[in-house]
């Protein structure tokens, strides 16, 4: 029943530092190939029962994270996903050593982690960002709203002091139009994409000119249908909305565990 380690993430190398943890997979999946971890360390596994944590040694418990480390965390999980189901941990989780990882995480939460691994079997996260092309959307707004078009003409010339109140009014109307369009377009995009997803999550923080930022949990066999839907949407909105579509990813937005002791 002893915890087993492969690669360099062994107890010796972790003696003074800690053990960084990326995520949890089934033990039979094994460590991902080729991805290097936080601080450039090799990624190994710590297995217990049927579960395995993806880990690498860190020199100290206090990590000063660099840009490369964030990217590596993400790449380790992407590489793991190619081999099997993986539950991604948030960036920055460090255990004191291997036995702490097993005794305080893998073992007490075994049932919960196994249930999650089964739940996400064959499912991946796809993220979609949609942003307006600023020039195009403002042109739509001007051409679609006669009052905005008129205020625009009135404020283009004349001295700044005289046109100030009109400019504020113009800007306020433009802001309202943009909000209305964002709501409408977001709903339209979601209506199309949610049908293909098991679950989805929309980021509600309003970002300027952003139509949608959302994550979709999708069955692997539906990914190509999702690809098609994205291409259709990009064609329909060509010239006005830019899409950034990333995946398949481990289910970052959809995993969660209960509070400690809730196992």
């Amino acid at each position: 029943m002893a915890a087993r380690t492969s690669s360099r993430a062994g107890p010796d190398s972790a003696a003074v530092g800690g053990l960084y943890c990326y995520g949890v997979t089934w033990a039979e999946v094994g460590p991902p190939d080729g991805a290097s971890g936080v601080g450039g360390e090799a990624v190994g596994v710590v297995a217990d029962g049927g579960l395995a944590a993806l880990t690498s040694a860190v020199a100290s418990m206090a990590i000063k994270a660099k840009r490369r480390d964030l990217l590596n965390h993400s790449e380790v999980l992407a590489a793991a996903l190619e081999r099997g189901t993986v539950l991604p941990l948030r960036f920055g989780v460090v255990f004191e050593d291997e036995s702490a990882l097993v005794d305080e995480f893998l073992r007490p939460r075994r049932e919960e982690l196994e249930r999650l691994l089964r739940q996400f079997e064959g499912r991946v996260e796809l993220t979609v960002r949609a942003d307006y092309d600023e020039q195009a959307i403002l042109a739509e707004v001007v051409n679609d709203n006669p009052r905005i078009a008129r205020l625009r003409e009135e404020t283009r010339q004349g001295n700044a002091a005289a046109t100030y109140p009109l400019k504020v009014e113009l800007g306020e109307l433009v802001a309202a139009e943009l909000r209305k369009r964002t709501d409408r377009d977001q709903r339209a995009l979601l209506d199309r994409l949610r049908k293909l997803a098991v679950d989805f999550e929309v980021d509600q923080e309003p970002i300027e000119h952003q139509v949608l930022r959302a994550s979709f949990l999708v069955e692997r066999e539906k990914v190509s249908a999702f690809d098609d839907a994205m291409e259709e949407l990009a064609r329909e909105h060509a010239g006005r909305i830019r899409f950034k579509y990333v995946g398949p990813l481990a289910p970052h937005s959809f995993v969660s565990v209960g509070p400690s002791g809730a196992v």
Partner: protein, 121 residues
């Protein structure tokens, strides 16, 4: 690495198998993923080089003035191809007060998108 898809929309759909930029990675791994409390020590003391380019929308006079300037600077003759489809078609603007998706599609997509109607569920 991002792969652009072919077709007319190629410039408007960027597809990538994994996050390519730091901002995307941050969205994914700093705010999301399993969080385990109590048993573990989360010991990240500093994240360097993080910049988020996105601007949060704040309703203020400054924002309004910025929008007004942006609209004033617009060169409508240049954006015609992208933005003025509705002027060539029928008057889609009348529907917009309803806030309906249908209205939005009419107004925004004009005659280029007839086929979409049949795809609606």
């Amino acid at each position: 690495m991002a792969i652009a898809t072919q077709g007319t929309a190629s410039n408007y759909l960027q597809r990538a198998p994994s996050p390519s930029g730091l901002a995307d990675v941050i969205d994914l791994i700093l705010d999301k993923g399993l969080v385990i409390d109590a048993y573990v020590r989360i010991a990240v003391i500093g994240i360097e080089l993080i910049t988020i380019d996105a601007r949060i929308v704040i309703a203020s006079v400054d924002t309004y003035l910025r929008f007004a300037e942006a609209v004033n600077r617009l060169d409508l003759t240049q954006t015609e191809a992208a933005g003025l489809a509705e002027l060539r078609g029928d008057n889609g603007g009348g529907d917009k007060e309803k806030g309906m998706i249908e209205g939005a599609k009419e107004a925004f997509s004009g005659d280029r998108r007839q086929k979409e109607r049949s795809e609606k569920d």
